[in-house]
Amino acid sequence: MDKRIDSADAAVALIPDGATIMMGGFGLCGIPEMLIAALHRRGTRDLTVISNNAGVDGFGIGVLLEARQVRKMIATYVGENKEFERQYLTRELEVDLVPQGTFAERIRAGGAGIGAFYTPTGYGTLVAEGKESREFDGTHYVLERPLKADFAFVKGDRGDRHGNLTYRRTARNFNPIMATAARVTIAEVETLVAPGEIDPDAVVTPGIYVQHIFLGGPYQKRIERRVVREG
């Protein structure tokens, strides 16, 4: 099992215009910086991007938006991004907003072969419009369908050539579930180690979910809201 690929550029060359791509990250934390930059360089267009947020002006998914590579975004919270806001308000960009827990669970369902599930989230709200609602044991639920993608861009901390991945702190976020829900998952990692170097009890993403892996860096890891205390 050797899933190493030469570079981010080689990886994104696999992606056709019009593809649906999941991208890990919460805000700018744990985003696949190398793959996003490579996708920008390549200029792949008409993309549907599934990501919790939409980056900021000039970084992360923001650069794809500025280059008008994205046709549609499925996200939970957006708008730290002026260019996003402009395209959204002018309807140049299609936006589907999903409650964050439903977003996560739909992706998990996509990877886990669940045909649909009932969640209490959003019952009686705009989110439930056009969806089946149903009561079980006195609680109201909304029927939600799985989310899948053609590709997933995942950022790991350590990885091996089998595709096993670990994540660091809150950079984990949506990366592990997105890895499970795409036809082709591409992982970039900060350290590439030999198989066996990651404690098998500590593997978060088993290699089965990863089709391509490469060593990324250097990482910028921009901080959106630097809050510090004296000390």
Partner: protein, 215 residues
């Protein structure tokens, strides 16, 4: 006392020893700095952290460690990290004892509106709909009325719902109001106000608990 500080301190009194608590973005987050002595709680952040610690020093800042408001944070001893799916399994599964959230409107039935104003840029609901659907207890922390004096505690929300019949208690700068099966019950009013002032700024019907406490 500052209006926001009054709300924060009163909300902090809602914390029970041993609680697992999710504090919403903005004002609720500040409750973490006012935890009463002797109360040991664990803070959940829906981006995948249980055991949120104080803000980092300059030297401790780590871009891989943020809260759901995307602010740099630290983690306490005994913290854990997990995925977004695991984080919301925790939320939706009823494992969070208390969530504190801001609001635009709360109504008599405990319906909440806090994510969208038609005609304005909609940024998304983030985790709010999941938190109100899943947390065992939902406390709203907000200013009692809008800047131009319009009530926020209303007979029926005019803005799109975040959740139906989800609010347990409303804490404002003027009052503490519970949502009960029989409607709203005013439990406490602030030191600096009067029952008449609260009535004037509340369009929802409520009954007054006796004895009415001051906070």
């Amino acid at each position: 006392m500052d209006t926001r500080l009054r709300i924060i301190r009163r909300v902090a009194a809602e914390l029970r020893d041993g609680d697992y608590v999710n504090l919403g973005i903005g004002l609720p987050t500040l409750v973490a700095d006012h935890i009463p002595p002797g109360i040991d709680i664990v803070l959940h952040s829906e981006n995948g952290l249980l055991g949120v610690g104080p803000s980092p020093t300059e030297a401790e800042v780590d871009p891989d460690l943020i809260n759901a408001g995307k602010e740099t944070v630290t983690a306490v001893a005994g913290a854990s990290y997990f995925s977004g799916a695991d984080s919301f399994a925790m939320v939706r599964g009823g494992h969070i004892d208390l969530t504190v959230l801001g609001a635009l409107e709360v109504d008599q039935a405990g319906n909440l509106a806090n994510w969208m104003v038609p005609g304005k840029m909609v940024k998304g609901m983030g985790g709010a709909m999941d938190l109100v659907a899943g947390a065992r207890r939902v406390v709203i922390a907000m200013e009692h009325s809008t800047r131009d004096g319009q009530p926020r505690i209303v007979p029926r929300c005019t803005l799109p719902f975040t959740g139906l019949r989800v609010v347990n208690r409303i804490v404002t700068d003027l009052a503490v109001i519970d949502v009960t099966r029989d409607g709203l019950v005013l439990r406490e009013i602030a030191q600096h106000t009067t029952l008449e002032a609260v009535r004037a700024l509340t369009s929802a019907a409520f009954v007054v608990d006796a004895p009415l406490k001051r906070f």
